[in-house]
């Protein structure tokens, strides 16, 4: 008899440990598996019971519900007000196309036998039969683009690093998921860490790198613990180390923990931070793929990019690129966040509309008030109004609509939001987090916040709006990285899409 109670930190944040403890108190003979989260976060704590006909779900369960679950014989799938039926048939989950997140929430994150039983390691085994060149061709062919937000074709980056000659190359996984509204990297690491390790190992084999580093943010303590355990298990299993799965390849992974700096999610600032320095952005070129960590050729990919590679190798590039639209191929792990009724992970092919994500999956706002704005792609992403809800969610369409997909996070706001206040926050956040290298970002952000404040107070509104737009242009053109370069995006989109908030009259 197995009962699943998630150990994902979102589930823990609303009492999953207490639910697990309550179950164990009533019947200590039950085997409680601490799985990752299925991603339907409003149903947490989602308790599942293994039955001969499949897993039956109950949620959201609180510790106080546990006795009544036993009374209803939930161990045999008994009916209860919290019963959701078979987990696989919950519409919200069943309609998704889980590729990168295929195993998250299903397996015990730290069980290698679970991992293998659900298709784990097939990508790496396939990669060991191929040459580095063939692996890179497969990744290129799949159309996989960088999921961190820059959307650069992964295969081309890998080819560049492969062609560089060096005594040492690195695979750096960017797990500094600092964008508000995003949590997919965290959930993948907490729910299926071996997939990331497998993807990094394949990348290492493909380009001739023997050392991997995961730069993981300190705000994710549970993910740090899980990933470290997974690395130790992979080492003990002779997967990581001198001989990867008995081959002639050597590969190992170290975790480096961030220290609360947002800009260190920018790839060159991340390299500086891994080198133990201030997280100050580097000028490019040289590209990190040629001269990266400690001056050596380095692949830097986001967690989701690397975690998708095993599936591409196992099932073939054509299976992956059969999904999506235009040049946005495969699936995107969207994250529904903020003031949303049904928040969580929605993995689906590119091309779904914003409306489908927010209303069909998300169910509108949590507060039941009218939805007014969504911010897509983190603190540097644009604010969209409901007029733009038919936008196709893919890289090119979002750029055409004046925004960007970023890391796929979507933050929903109800009608109490004041977009001038949000625009001011974008500038303030930039002022706090700027690394200080570029003047437009370091100083412009402070001047920007002050100028928006004047607009809010109704001081020379038209003049200050013009000044603000001019400042935005300077920041965009005069900053090395996305911190200063894209902070104008939320500001300008708020001004364009919500002009009534920038009139100087109190809302």
């Amino acid at each position: 008899m197995r009962v699943f109670v998630p150990c994902d930190s979102a589930a823990l944040s609303i009492g999953a440990d207490e639910v697990a403890a309550a179950i164990a108190r009533i019947d200590s003979t039950i085997e409680i598996v601490r799985n990752g989260s299925r991603g339907a976060l409003w149903l947490e704590t989602l308790v599942e019971v293994e039955t001969p006909t499949g897993r039956i779900a109950y949620g959201p369960v609180t510790p106080d519900d546990v006795q009544s679950l036993f009374d209803a014989d939930f161990l045999h799938g008994g009916t209860h007000p919290l019963s959701l039926g078979k987990t696989d048939e919950i519409e919200w989950l069943a309609n998704q196309d889980r590729v990168t997140f295929a195993r998250v929430g299903i397996i015990d994150p730290l069980s290698l036998s679970d991992y293998r039983a659900h298709g784990g390691l097939l990508g790496l085994i396939k990669a060991l039969e191929l040459s580095g060149d063939e692996i890179i061709s497969e990744v290129t062919e799949s159309g996989l683009r960088g999921r961190g937000g820059a959307a650069f074709p992964a295969g081309i980056k890998w080819r560049t690093a492969a062609q560089a000659t060096s005594d040492q190359k690195y695979i750096c996984c960017n797990a500094d998921e600092g964008d508000s509204g995003t949590f997919a990297d965290r959930m993948l690491i907490e729910g299926d860490p071996f997939t990331l390790i497998e993807g990094m190992t394949i990348a290492g084999i493909a380009v001739g790198a023997t050392q991997g580093i995961v730069y993981l943010r300190s705000e994710y303590p549970y993910a740090i613990t899980t990933l470290q355990k997974a690395i130790d298990i992979a080492r003990a299993d002779s997967w990581l180390g001198k001989s990867v799965l008995g081959s002639t390849y050597s590969f190992d992974i170290q975790i480096r923990i961030g220290a609360g700096s947002y800009v260190c999610g920018e790839e060159t600032a991340m390299l500086e931070s891994i080198e133990g320095k201030r997280g100050v952005v580097r000028a490019k070129p040289p590209l990190p793929a040629i001269e990266g960590l400690f001056g050596k050729p380095t692949i830097i990919n986001n967690v989701l990019t690397l975690a998708t590679v095993p599936m591409i190798l196992a099932e073939g590039a054509s299976a992956y690129k059969a999904r999506g639209v235009g040049r946005s191929l495969g699936t995107q792990v969207f994250q529904l966040a903020g003031n949303i009724a049904f928040g969580g992970i929605v993995e689906t092919a590119f091309g779904i509309t914003l409306n489908e994500l927010i209303n069909t999956y998300g169910g509108g706002t949590l507060t039941k008030r009218p939805l007014r704005a969504v911010q897509i792609g983190g603190p540097l992403g644009a604010y969209f109004s409901t007029d733009q809800f038919e936008t196709s969610m893919d890289y090119e369409s979002l750029i055409a609509a004046g925004g960007m997909l970023g890391h796929g996070g979507i933050v929903v706001f109800d009608d109490t939001v004041d977009l001038a206040v949000q625009a001011k926050f974008a500038m303030e956040f930039c002022a706090i987090e700027s690394c200080g290298k570029c003047t437009p970002c370091r100083i412009g952000s402070t001047r920007g916040a002050e100028t928006i404040d004047l607009i809010i107070q109704g001081v020379r509104v038209d003049e200050n709006k013009k000044l603000l737009l001019d400042l935005c242009e300077v920041m965009t053109d005069g900053s090395l990285c996305a911190m200063g370069g894209l902070t104008p995006m939320p500001v300008k989109s708020a001004m364009i899409n919500f002009p009534s908030d920038f009139t100087g009259a109190a809302r």
């Binding site: 944040s13 508000s180 080198e275 997280g279 903020g338 003031n339």
Partner: protein, 141 residues
């Protein structure tokens, strides 16, 4: 949380564990804070000497990162996420409430990756979703 009292000997012993690391300065500062609860002033020179860096190098790193602090922490540590997703569900009013009661031990944070169950908070290392003042008070004890 329990920390050891700072001493130079203990610090040097810990630094020795990083001897083989490349780019060890940030790791060294993090290790000091993990052990002693903060980075003592004396650590700047210790780390600089141990890893053959200038004091300016170490000081620069110490003052760049929000996580690092140079004074001992309060007994309890409360972080309230005030980033956009949590703002959308009332993080600003929660922040005010919590700061009114626990001003000395409350800090702003930007994102714990719990953006669908906000407002999010971290109390003594434990994550809190749909956070309220009452939940934070409970977690604090």
């Amino acid at each position: 949380m329990k920390y050891s009292p700072f001493s130079q000997e203990a610090a040097l012993g810990l630094l020795a564990s990083l001897r083989e690391e490349k780019g060890p300065v940030l790791m060294a500062l993090q290790l000091m804070q993990k052990e002693f609860g903060y980075v003592d002033k004396a650590c700047v020179e210790l780390i600089a000497n141990f890893f053959n860096k200038s004091r300016a190098d170490v000081h620069g790193v110490l003052t760049f990162y929000h996580d690092l602090r140079t004074t001992p922490p309060t007994e309890h540590q409360i972080s309230i996420c005030v980033a956009e997703a949590c703002q959308a569900v009332g993080a600003r009013s929660l922040e005010k409430e919590v700061k009114a009661k626990f001003a000395n031990e409350t800090h702003d944070a930007y994102c714990f990756g719990n953006c669908a169950l906000g407002p999010a908070a971290m109390v003594d290392g434990k994550i809190i979703g749909r956070a309220t003042l009452a939940k934070i008070e409970r977690a604090r004890t």
